[in-house]
Assembly symmetry: C2
Homo-oligomer: 440 residues x 2
């Protein structure tokens, strides 16, 4: 089905953003074909539908570049605990009991939430990836999926790795998944090679991950300098800071998405910029887990690093709300620098859209001919969005999930007038509750 | 009309919070009369209505203890500017052009948003208070209203005050308003004496404000130590820090609500505790305006200070979302202290409910017999609220305005199934847009 969306104000394709009135024609292949002044387009084919979007705002779908979808089942478990205690006493024991079926229901739950908050694409780093991929397929969402690889030994006083055993097994699983699913679901699924982090993967695993990602021409998705522990352990092991060490392993590729990037030095910012790697900034999760400090966002932006935005998993956020992440990220940075101009609303809107698409190597995040029809409609007739001020701040500082009415991916509606179309939400919510209760 | 609300999970009346299943009977005087196990109550009078709240959560209405409602018209004006520049080039010129009619429409706009986000009471500090009071009356909301008094001279190199001229005039306006409206609108309106701050009011004005507030037995509402400028100017003028200076003026009363309270020393925390004054913590506004640092919330709580929660005006937030303020406040504190346990979800839920009622001297904020029927229903069958974990974190870290379905004040519905009943929302939004455009 092709669509002609009329009457909406449409996010401009470049920053500083505004919302000019435009009509948008979407081909039945799910591509934005034309963007024109109101009234200049007509539904050109017999199998096209006119969508009246009066009083609405048309946005590119939001792109969440770092999450762990099944962790939505663990939402609310161990709130207010310190990160190491939270991981050891709450997350790891439960994750060990999560099988493929559990992962599927967790992903369905996350997909319901993401579609409702206007997220069209997510970048996933977890386990039981086949189950997750099948849910992405059925949900109609777009995702970049990677199997989370770790070869650090669990016991022992020091830090020890087992590359020859665990590491090689992990690589084999990661490779198999990445090959099998890349390009599947009408191209909505792409894949990544996803080593966990610099203190949870051996040097060999990181080196091989980089080689594999290059060979398969897929994203390399990794956690980077999220916590002081990670920084300290990496320095202790290699006398190198995390980004420096990743670079020495060949892991800083133009196709690398490094999540968090909090404890990064000025010279590492330059290094990331020169390697053209992307950051997935996760401000809400960092604050909630008390990682401390703030990611050097103004420095990243000044150096030309592609900074995208993620929510992280719902267990550490506790939502998958990209609007919240935009606002919290921006105001946290302002306050941390004692400078209201340290970052701007435009920066954060770009992170959540265009920069996310760039990070994941997909032609989306902008409403422009030739781009994927991953789109969201916002109801501008809402008291929290009045007055309309025609700038990025209007959206970043005021809008929320309550304003999202419709979500489209690849030219297909996943939500219309707040009703989910591809997922049986009621059944998913009740199954998810039972499944989460069973993990206690 | 009396109501029997059945089938809901109801917020417990004490922290650590949980949500046991309870039925709640509300008298036609707007008072919570009975709270009992499910099935134990029946609609006892002929003029009562049974409300089926299955799958819903019943909360006390949220209490916003510091805002400037008409500033919703200035939402989005001067985002990303430094506070002094924002005030001088954006806020003050526009505020000077805002007349009573403008204030009324701004308050209507804010009321629409507040009712939608589950706020039932707000504590207001602004100008043209009669216009604001009339809107509170028609909207059905509850509010504590105070006329914002300033006697600092606008020009001049140093800081000069004009108590004998401006200050006395301001006091007269503030007193007249406070007397005239206290207890009006079926008791939904209470009033305050509202001197602006320690660096914008003369010592005489502060001393007289305290006397007046005591004499009239109303709230004293003031800004306290919001910015470093305010701290520096107060120290420069009086060799006292802001809370110390307020105390020397007699302004730290048990009925004092001091907004912000960011740049406060440990000894001032003790002083506030000993005077039993309340803080209106405004984390989102503080972050957005880059005030820097973080209010000493763990110290306030440890000392027994009554900490409530506010959004501040929508021009500096840019929303009136108390859910957001709970979450942002809590996660900001955790991160600032490098300690996920520095504050807990329970602390923030209490701030937004019970502590807010205590600050404003109203019998609300708790679902208990004898308390005002200011209530909110939340739809728990929402993907961002599954799984239900029966604790404060479930609400504080995951819920948002999209989950609020019904709002009641004084036993009367202001919103049912997301439809506003007391205000003509569509007309208000269109008038507000035109009015805001006219202020440019």
């Amino acid at each position: 089905m092709a669509y002609l969306i009329t009457g909406a104000k449409v996010l401009s394709s470049e920053s500083p953003y505004s919302f000019p009135a435009r009509d948008v024609f979407i081909s039945d292949e799910g591509i934005i074909e034309k963007v024109a002044l109101p009234g200049k387009l007509s539904a050109s084919s017999t199998h096209s539908d006119v969508v009246d979007a009066k009083n609405k705002i048309l946005l590119p779908g939001l792109i969440n570049t770092h999450t762990h979808a099944p962790m939505s089942l663990l939402r609310g478990v161990g709130d207010d605990l310190h990160l190491p205690q939270w991981l050891r006493t709450c997350m790891w024991p439960r994750e060990a009991r999560m099988d493929a079926k559990t992962m599927a229901i967790g992903t369905q739950l996350a997909a319901c939430e993401m579609i409702r908050v206007g997220t069209t694409t997510f970048n996933e780093h977890y386990f039981h990836m086949d189950a997750i991929a099948r849910v992405v397929d059925e949900s109609g969402m777009r995702a970049c999926l990677g199997y989370s690889m770790i070869d650090r030994k669990k016991s022992g006083d020091g830090i020890e790795f087992d590359f020859d055993g665990k590491g090689k097994d992990e690589l084999a699983i990661g490779e198999k998944f990445a090959k099998e699913w890349n390009g599947k679901a009408d191209g909505r699924i792409t894949t990544s090679i996803s080593p966990h982090a610099t203190n949870t993967c051996s040097k060999e695993l990181l080196v091989e991950s980089a080689r594999l990602a290059k060979r398969l021409d897929v994203i390399l998705h990794i956690h980077l300098a999220e916590t002081r522990t990670e920084l300290a352990e990496t320095l202790g092991l290699y006398k190198k800071r995390p980004a420096e060490f990743l670079d020495s392993c060949g892991c800083l590729l133009p196709s690398t998405v490094a999540a968090h990037g909090v404890y990064v030095s000025k010279s590492e910012v330059k290094l990331l910029a020169s390697r053209k790697s992307s950051i997935a900034h996760c401000p809400v999760s960092n604050l909630k887990l008390a990682s401390g400090g703030a990611a050097p966002i103004p420095e990243y932006l000044a150096a030309g690093v592609n900074v995208s935005l993620g929510t992280d998993g719902a267990a550490s956020n506790n939502s998958l709300d990209m609007f919240e992440s935009m606002k919290v990220g921006a105001i946290e940075q302002k306050n941390f620098r004692f400078d209201a101009a340290a970052v701007k609303a435009d920066d954060y809107l770009k992170m959540a859209t265009e920069a996310g698409a760039k990070a994941l190597g997909i032609k989306a995040g902008v409403i422009k001919p030739g781009h994927l029809a991953d789109l969201v409609l916002i109801d501008a007739k809402s008291p929290n969005l009045v007055p309309f001020t025609d700038n990025a701040g209007w959206l970043v500082y005021s809008a929320g999930p309550q304003n999202v009415t419709d979500t489209m991916v690849n030219g297909k509606w996943l939500m219309r007038e707040r009703k989910l179309l591809t997922l049986d939400e009621e059944k998913i919510l009740s199954t998810a509750q039972k499944t989460a209760d069973g993990l206690k």
